[in-house]
Symmetry: C2
Subunit: 286 residues, 2 copies
């Protein structure tokens, strides 16, 4: 069983609406709060060679990316740290704080615990003061499929291309782009941290639509092995770029660089170059 199958156990309990986005949504009189929590731990999330500072940075960045994917502004991060050894604490905390500072959030402490394996859970609160969050449900047939940045860098870094090591260890969440996409009229959005293919399936399931993308349009890093890079972009993980959907009419409102990789269709099929796109990605398995 993988984590998307397990999520189906939780759905009936907390309601489909609650389990379907990068963040939980809480409307308040002065804005809409969005909250995201992410567990990372040594064996599955921190490649050997990552520094403590990078571990702290990454733990915060993954959560800020989820907030960005709602089109929200990050306000505050709390970090629960399960430490195997006390030596790494100071570095981890400095990396966490640097990431908060880079994206305008407050690092507001958290919890300290002893754990057999280094385990970090960052939880972030963000706010939208001038509108509604962009959700996974909302993509409409005819919408253009857009991504930010270039994809596949994290897996290329993980598999030995040292030019991309920093992309893997110090992801840069797309906070500004998330807000601008929302203001431009994005109909659905999420980050592609589990890979592009599974993210297309996630949005398609929530929006009850299909997707048609072209492999040649997927933005890959220059000078990389194109076969490896395409595979990493589609089925890898660790790229904290945004995937969003916007009508042809509204695409002119975008004020930052994006790449158009395809169109939303009515058909419920997810295809690349006219063939079924495999539903694979970064998943936890039990």
């Amino acid at each position: 069983m993988d984590d998307r199958a397990l999520l189906d156990i939780i759905r009936p309990v907390c309601g489909n609406d609650t389990c379907s986005d990068d963040c939980a949504i809480l409307p308040l009189p002065c804005g809409t709060l969005v909250t995201s929590t992410d567990m990372l731990h040594e064996r599955s999330d921190f490649p050997a060679g990552m520094t403590g500072w990078q571990i702290g940075w990454m733990s915060v960045a993954v959560t800020i990316s989820d907030i960005a994917a709602m089109g929200a502004e990050p306000l505050q991060i709390v970090l629960a740290i399960g430490l195997d050894t006390e030596e790494r604490l100071a570095e981890i905390v400095l990396g966490a704080q640097a990431c908060c500072e880079a994206y305008g959030a407050v690092y507001a402490g958290g919890d300290l615990d002893a754990h057999s394996e280094l385990t970090l859970v960052s939880t972030g609160v963000g706010i939208i003061r001038d509108g509604e969050p962009v959700r996974r449900a909302g993509a409409k047939p005819g919408d253009i499929i857009c991504v930010t940045g270039t994809l596949g860098r994290a897996i290329l870094g993980l598999t030995g291309d040292s030019r991309f090591w920093k992309d893997l260890c110090e992801p840069q969440p797309r906070v500004r782009e998330g807000t601008l996409a929302r203001l431009a009229g994005a109909t659905a959005m999420m980050d592609i941290s589990d890979g592009l293919a599974i993210s297309l399936y996630d949005i398609a399931a929530e929006s009850h639509v299909g997707m048609e993308i072209s492999s040649g349009q997927i933005p890959l890093p220059p000078n990389a092995d194109m076969n490896l890079a395409l595979d990493a972009a589609l089925y890898g993980g660790g790229d904290f770029e945004l995937l969003f959907f916007i009508s042809e009419e509204n695409i002119k409102n975008l004020t930052f660089p994006v790449t158009q990789i395809g169109r939303v269709s009515k058909s419920l099929k997810i295809t690349m170059d006219g063939m079924k796109l495999p539903k694979k990605g970064y998943l936890h398995h039990w």
Copy 2:
């Protein structure tokens, strides 16, 4: 090194103000948000025999207790679940949701992960719409030291007194009492989940005061071994009662049962029956 010593590594980074309370504090135009995060895991936090439902309940209850200790109303809980086996998920989630529901919070999903040891991190957001949070700093010489409920039950349950097993596994955070204490004018507050003694030290350090308590006034469960119960109350953990401080003038405003166990002093000493109270409690060690 224990977790309070390690906290001193974090203090300079996130600011003393941020590291000093049960919750992080975030003022918004429509109220003050408080956020707490707590990591629990099998080996150190879930005694053998606890059900999955109780594990879910407890994980949420500890966080709601921190929110209560600020005098706030819990709004929303997210749960990051690191699962060793998928079998327990449904039960855990049902227990978590039951606790949210009992205290008026929304269980809003979270994160699922595979982990070698069952690890739960619950993060809660609460709000105060009509005033300021009660912090650890604020107790004043002359204030009366108050506690809710009876203390020591959790450790008695853990060490074999089956009458208290449910107190250990299904703690009942004092949400109503926390808000009423704040409205009555409590000057400082925290929960005593790490034991009464260490909590008195925590408040004394933040408020720059001393404490004088009487062992005979500490409320213990009826029919328990009094020596064991007193030791459990002072130095054990797992009792999610509130410790708060209030002036003699304001104590008449309290509208719920409390026990007065002593007085705040100017002297900076923490004493019980006139003797120095050992600074011991539930601490993680590395």
